[in-house]
Symmetry: C3
Subunit: 208 residues, 3 copies
Amino acid sequence: MSFDITAVVNIMGLAAVAVFAISGALDAARQKMDILGFMLIGTATGIGGGTLRDVLLGNVPVFWIREPVWILICLVASAVTYFIAPKLASRSRTLIWMDAVGLALFAVVGTEIALEFGTSSLIAICMGVMTATFGGIARDVLCGSNLTLMNEELYITTALAGSVVYLLLNSFNLPNSYDLIGGFLVAFILRALAIQFHLKLPNPHRKD
Amino acid sequence: MSFDITAVVNIMGLAAVAVFAISGALDAARQKMDILGFMLIGTATGIGGGTLRDVLLGNVPVFWIREPVWILICLVASAVTYFIAPKLASRSRTLIWMDAVGLALFAVVGTEIALEFGTSSLIAICMGVMTATFGGIARDVLCGSNLTLMNEELYITTALAGSVVYLLLNSFNLPNSYDLIGGFLVAFILRALAIQFHLKLPNPHRKD
Amino acid sequence: MSFDITAVVNIMGLAAVAVFAISGALDAARQKMDILGFMLIGTATGIGGGTLRDVLLGNVPVFWIREPVWILICLVASAVTYFIAPKLASRSRTLIWMDAVGLALFAVVGTEIALEFGTSSLIAICMGVMTATFGGIARDVLCGSNLTLMNEELYITTALAGSVVYLLLNSFNLPNSYDLIGGFLVAFILRALAIQFHLKLPNPHRKD
């Protein structure tokens, strides 16, 4: 039996957009929106990063128009969140860990897609970071919140690390799955350590 | 004499973007902007929804670059609003009804354009809702306001209903105009009822 | 020796995006972000205008994916700003003048690129204004600030003037550089006068 990395990536990807959508929907809950508000904010959070990536690359129609399962899962996850928001809020620890999976996965997948488009390494890294983080930025802008990724433990850093490790492994001409797995694991472990030990980048501008 | 639905849709469409532009310009008035600020916010409100739709579909250059009359009418409507803002504010009842026309029309037209691009039904509905609502979202984000569509009576719901009815009628292979007219009327009447009777979606998260 | 206007425009363009990136990074400093926050806001400010222009025109992949030097200079300028932000803040006078160069230059270059895409004059002007101003709008939206371009002395007006003058000169079939230089100079001088004499558009809605 051969190990099918594509199927694994797709399943993890669907789980990841669902988690991102839930995080957006929970913000909608804080704003006391109705169910369509949950679905709007949740969906924008779930597919925002990949959408921006595709638009900037000219990879259109964007991915969720080509494969509607991506937006469907966001709509469903957001709608379900509407009914169970109070229960989910008490599961925030679980959500943080699922978000870490999404963050790590989107960073490497975004980098891979950019490379397939023939971009330079620098641009591929930018695309990886953007894919991983722009959904959350869209959520914060729509909800009028401060950018939460600025206060998270090594959030952008994590995406950056995953993207760079993917690129390094990719340059060795290993089979496709090693670069994906390597980049993902480095990003996820870095984020896990940051969450556990409250690691942040040094910041001389902020006097805590 | 044959009934030319395309001409009617175009005329109603131009009226609709003008109304959306005026609603944006009135927000600029609240922010005490100068005339170019009115034109910026008004134009973003008027063409924002269709622009996002075209960008995501890859229907570029976007519609108002291909047919500048759409941006021209936004610029003119916003500039005129600058001079008559106090008078328009007292006509807010009129504006709400014109906005309802625009909302209903943009929902069906957005759905139709997506279908012409060969998208699935789900995506066509998303595109209809987006075309109808994103201009107002852009206005609120630029002005730093809360999303007003969240507080409106059945605002997203109306766009959704119009889009779904359009799709249903369209699947019967009726002549083109019936689906447009049917979707438009359902959306407009629903919005009219919601405005008159202050209908909103149930919202257990909000305790009024 | 022939005068190479393209090289001059490119060098001034790189200087201009760097200044825009610095202005974004200084806003990140006010928000006490870490170095990656500086780079995110700074880069969005530096390349935001040209990115929106390219996306709307369908000129994709957008310019900084095709020529990564543009995003590289934003990343470097923002990162450097992180370390010298306090010193730069006391140089705000210098930055305003460099920003004026960028504003004037982006307006004419944006207009030129739109014309090359075969747009009408009205659209070319809109694209010029958008290229010059949207980076600052993106910065303000990301930082949750009011739109600063509304409070600046003749900011949008300046971009508009540069774009219109470029178009007028361009219609005379002069050699390429004259329209660029003419549009740039008119825009820069107008902005310079506005800064020196605190000129603003009349605004009956605002009672100062």
